[in-house]
């Protein structure tokens, strides 16, 4: 299923065609669709497909926006793999201790929680960029050794370095996969079962399903992203 085209889900509507406007219970069918390939979706990750009302057609127009889902403020998520990483406890301690006690202990506690959440988030962001570039560098060096090996035998220290880098990049890849898997919430897949791109695809799909195109507050309809908070 994943390697074929995948359907772009319509937000908030199931059917796009009606057999009759006068019949109280017409046949409703979803005849109009959009499909895309995985690489198309990689190129336009911000798509959002919505249905509009039609004036006199028996079909509903489909409107595909290409930049409609913009990054939103991130909610705090505690990642289950954090405690297994070096520096986790230090990051917690540093953030926790950064708050000076207030007169009300509950205030202090609330501020400490807030600071810890923020501290962990930036700690994780710093480390992630780091993992990714480490992995890329390790792979590049391994590749250079592989190329060199085609024209000359590798020295013992070069072999040692290449093997170490291979072990290291295996561990990094597995960590990145774990992260992607957690994002996708695909619990039915066991760790290491599928590739990272697939997980990202599902994570994006989930994000899209959770997207709220508009909110009604009193008699006002809010569609701008920043107003929705």
């Amino acid at each position: 299923m994943i390697w074929g085209v995948s359907e772009i889900p319509v937000h908030g509507q199931k059917f796009t065609w009606t057999s009759s406007f006068t019949n109280a219970s017409p046949t409703l069918v979803r005849l109009d669709r959009m499909f895309c390939t995985l690489d198309w979706e990689d190129q336009f990750p911000g798509w959002l497909l919505q249905c509009a009302a039609s004036n006199d057609s028996d079909h509903c127009p489909l409107i595909l926006g290409l930049q409609d889902v913009i990054g939103c403020r991130k909610r705090f998520h505690f990642e289950a793999f954090w405690p297994s990483l070096d520096g986790f406890l230090e990051a917690v301690k540093e953030a926790w201790d950064s708050v000076q006690p207030r007169t009300c202990p509950l205030d202090t506690l609330a501020l400490k929680f807030k600071a810890t959440a923020r501290g962990l988030q930036s700690w994780s962001q710093r480390n992630f960029g780091h993992f990714r570039s480490q992995l890329l560098m390790a792979k590049e060096i391994i590749r250079q050794f592989d190329i060199a090996q085609e024209s000359r035998p590798l020295q013992p220290n070069e072999l040692w370095l290449r093997n170490n880098l291979k072990r290291h990049s295996l561990a990094l890849s597995s960590l990145l996969r774990t992260v992607a898997r957690l994002r996708s919430r695909m619990h039915w897949l066991k760790e290491g079962d599928a590739n990272t791109r697939l997980f990202h695809h599902f994570a994006r799909y989930r994000k899209k399903k959770n997207f709220i195109p508009k909110l009604q507050v009193g008699d006002q309809v809010i569609t701008k992203h920043e107003d929705k908070y």
């Binding site: 046949t27 895309c36 390939t37 198309w40 190129q43």
Partner: protein, 125 residues
């Protein structure tokens, strides 16, 4: 009828009476269009943005009769074969592939199976 920003950039497939017919029009500022093609039930346009990979848009109008539907799916396979790279295919397929696509149980399961196979087979080319 098109706005001035379209500069007469369009490709179309004429309608058959009141049904069918496809018009694809694009604004000039979208960038260059590499190629276009008009097939029996679809119109395809290749967009070549300056800042990313070229991609194909195929707009379809699926036929009503079963025999034509089989040909239609084959046409889309052929189009895909000649239009590699990122692909978006949109339109009235006149086909469904799952039960939830219809609010009653009057279903053509053989045709649903064909459509589903088309979905599974395509892409990744």
């Amino acid at each position: 009828m098109l706005g001035s920003e379209f500069d007469n950039n369009f490709v179309y497939l004429p309608s058959d009476g009141a049904s069918g017919g496809i018009l694809v029009a694009w604004r000039s500022l979208l960038g260059t269009v590499g190629a276009t093609r008009v097939d029996a039930q679809s119109v395809s346009v290749q967009f070549c943005p300056s800042d990313s990979d070229a991609w194909w848009l195929t707009c379809v109008y699926g036929p009503q009769h079963d025999q034509d539907k089989i040909q239609f799916l084959q046409e889309l396979r052929d189009v895909r074969g000649q239009c590699p790279g990122p692909w978006l295919v949109v339109g009235d397929f006149n086909l469904i592939y799952k039960e939830e696509d219809k609010n009653n149980s009057n279903l053509n399961r053989a045709m649903m199976g064909r459509f589903r196979r088309w979905i599974n087979d395509l892409g990744g080319l």
